[in-house]
């Protein structure tokens, strides 16, 4: 078990017509010993390429990968002592579960047959697949194959686990139960883990920390709640969270933000933070918007309910500035309210956008100028 360091990792692919495509651009992350790091981003952002470079399946254009005190950048995949779980599971179809799980031990160690037998036996126990050890992959369900793939990785006791969207081929229900189980196993084994997903729910729920990647560049590394409450830029703010953060393009005019529809006064403190920018993006999370009867202060705005999506415990309420009939492009945004509250489409309501909960990003660079106010982020951090 050791610390995994990515140091300015860069991957440039050369296209067929000779042009270069930068898939991963100077990514540096330190993953602590035993940490569960989730690499998340939209498809094509370079997260899988990053993982494959760590695995040794992809050559590194520049930068370094260090595992513990050795540099593994140029080592072959076979020599890195890293195990990986693939999206397609990639089980060996002609081997039984037991043979699949023994293979890595036979190839990378000189353990005796008995030792390997015991180890596979117990890992299978841990994963609840002991009864399936003599079956071939074609005789297993998707979820069972998933476990075998996992088992194949854990019997080897590698220094690092890499997981490339391992749950994406499972149905929704199985996925959420495997999510919990994967976390439990990782905690039990305490092995440094790098987990790639495009699903921000997986990122939020599973990772000790998450690293958000976009367009080959690292956007932010932090705990899930840090990334949620203190996004480093507009991309992270919009990517993390479901439904995603509402954004409004605004112009800074002294101590207020102005747009066609909104006129949002700022406190002195906030006005200082945005003083350097002309145009900013105001971000507000749907759950932070309150729907009230009448305007309580000048942070409340008259809107009309467009659509209500009931989800039982809560409702997503799509609100609209202006009148759909008369205006060409009405601006909609979403608020989440208690599932019991009665709001109906077409109803005029007042939306309160509390200044404490507002994020402000520079409109050009997207960098966060001001994040929401929290009493103490560290205390809201759940201890897992």
């Amino acid at each position: 078990m050791s610390q995994l360091q990515l140091d300015k990792l860069t991957k440039v692919f050369t296209d067929d017509d000779g042009s270069d495509i930068v898939a991963v651009d100077g990514v540096s992350i330190d993953i602590e010993d035993g940490e569960f790091l989730v690499l998340v981003g939209p498809s094509g952002c370079g997260k899988s390429t990053t993982l494959r470079m760590v695995a040794g399946l992809e050559t590194v254009t520049s930068g370094d990968i260090r595992l513990g005190d050795r540099t593994i950048t140029d080592q072959k995949a076979q020599e890195r002592d890293i195990a990986m779980v693939f999206q397609s599971y990639a089980l060996y179809p002609h081997m039984t579960t037991r043979e699949n799980m023994s293979f890595g031990l036979e190839e990378s160690t000189d353990m005796s047959t008995d030792e390997i037998y015991d180890r596979v036996e117990q890992a299978a126990e841990l994963l609840g697949i002991a009864a399936l050890l003599d079956r071939k992959p074609t005789e297993l369900s998707g979820g069972q194959q998933q476990r075998v793939a996992l088992g194949r990785a854990i019997v080897r006791e590698p220094e690092v686990f890499l997981m490339d969207e391992p749950l994406s081929n499972l149905d929704a229900k199985l996925r959420s139960s495997m999510r919990t189980e994967l976390q439990r196993i990782q905690e039990d084994l305490d092995t440094t883990t790098m987990y790639v997903t495009h699903d921000q729910t997986e990122a939020m729920t599973m990772g000790d920390r998450i690293a958000v990647l976009n367009d080959g560049r690292l956007q932010q590394v932090g705990t899930p709640l840090e990334c949620y409450h203190r996004p480093a830029n507009r991309f992270v703010g919009g990517f993390i969270g479901e439904p995603s953060m509402n954004f409004f393009e605004m112009t800074v005019e002294g101590d207020r933000l102005v747009s066609d529809r909104l006129n949002y006064p700022l406190s002195a403190e906030t006005a200082d933070a945005v003083a350097g920018s002309d145009r900013v993006t105001l971000g507000i999370r749907p759950e932070d918007i309150e729907i009230v009867d009448r305007p309580a202060d000048d942070h409340a705005f008259e809107t009309v309910v467009d659509v209500v999506e009931p989800r039982g415990n809560e409702n997503s309420v799509y609100l609209m500035f202006g009148d759909q009939e008369t205006e060409e492009n009405p601006e909609t945004f979403v608020a989440i309210v208690n599932g019991m509250s009665r709001v109906e489409a077409g109803e005029p309501v007042v939306a309160h956008v509390p200044e404490d909960a507002v994020h402000l990003f520079d409109a050009d660079s997207g960098d966060a100028l001001r994040n929401r106010v929290l009493d103490d982020l560290d205390e809201t951090e759940p201890r897992v």
Partner: protein, 305 residues
């Protein structure tokens, strides 16, 4: 496509609407069966007739009376060809196995591993499938006159009842291996490109070397393709005449393969004894026919790739 009866009848009715269409279709297919089988059937019945019956009876009718029937053609043809059949098996089997192995190795090294310039090398293999062998015959003869297998393998002739002429069969085997490698490589490659890349990567991460991955993953998974390649390649090597003619030269050699003997069978009989010719043809075709009857689907697959 679906074979369910409902859709089938529905499709039928939509296509023609009447049974006449089906009848016509099956009639045509039946006539085609006749077209493809007649030469073989006619050969078979002729091979079983006496010399007089061959000229006096219809060529497609089987011998109808005991006077017309004779196995003598087969007896004569067998005497003439038995040695050739033995010789052909002697070089065709090892040449088939070795070229299939080489093909599998090469396809693995050019498909499932990672290095540059695989494709240019592969183009050279693919082009090798298509060359007309006439373009290499004279150099081949020169080569085998320079490398004297008969002398190199003198211990073999000393230890076995085989005569030094059998060195020709070693040359034939080497030749067929070399010229069989391209097609075997192409066949295996088409199969290997369908193998899961993630599986190969998983094996790599499991610590297996390139050699071990072949041994433990790729080779065991190649079994169906080996069947295809072995069958196809055996047919090709067994059926070859050109290399046999150039390397062994004459059917009077004790090492002459069966195709050479068969082509010579006509010459010595002045081409008129069709009963004997047909019997010879069937003896020479027997191994490939047996292979085809047993593994026709694999053969078709090898051909279609």
């Amino acid at each position: 496509m679906s074979t369910e009866t409902d859709t089938q009848t529905e499709k039928q009715s939509r296509f023609g609407g009447l049974d006449g269409y089906r009848i016509a279709l099956y009639t045509v297919l039946g006539l085609l069966v006749l077209f493809f089988l007649t030469p073989i059937e006619s050969g078979l019945v002729t091979s079983l007739k006496t010399a007089t019956a061959v000229t006096n009876t219809e060529p497609y009718l089987p011998p109808l009376s005991g006077a017309e029937f004779s196995l003598e053609n087969y007896a004569t043809a067998f005497d003439a060809l038995a040695n050739g059949v033995f010789n052909s098996l002697l070089f065709a089997i090892p040449a088939t196995v070795v070229s299939a192995l080489f093909g599998s190795f090469a396809a693995y090294g050019l498909t499932l591993v990672d290095w540059k310039y695989q494709v240019p090398i592969l183009v050279l293999f693919v082009a090798g499938v298509f060359i007309p062998y006439q373009a290499v015959l004279v150099p081949l003869s020169r080569l085998y006159s320079i490398i004297d297998f008969a002398a190199l393998l003198s211990f073999v002739w000393a230890l076995t009842p085989l005569s030094p002429e059998y060195a020709n069969l070693v040359e034939l085997a080497v030749t067929h291996i070399a010229y069989g490698i391209p097609i075997c490589t192409v066949l295996f490659r088409s199969y290997y490109t369908t193998m899961s890349e993630e599986m190969m990567e998983a094996a790599r991460l499991d610590g297996a070397s390139v050699r071990r991955i072949y041994r433990r993953i790729v080779f065991p998974l190649s079994t169906p393709m080996f069947a295809v390649v072995l069958i196809y390649q055996f047919t090709q090597i067994w059926n070859d005449l050109l290399f046999a003619l150039v390397i062994v030269a004459t059917s009077s050699s004790p090492a002459s393969p069966v195709t050479l003997d068969l082509a010579g069978l006509g010459v010595s009989m002045q081409g008129q004894d069709f009963g004997l010719r047909m019997a010879g043809a069937f003896i020479a075709a027997l191994p490939t026919l047996l292979v085809y009857i047993a593994f026709g689907d694999e053969f078709a697959e090898g051909v279609a790739t």
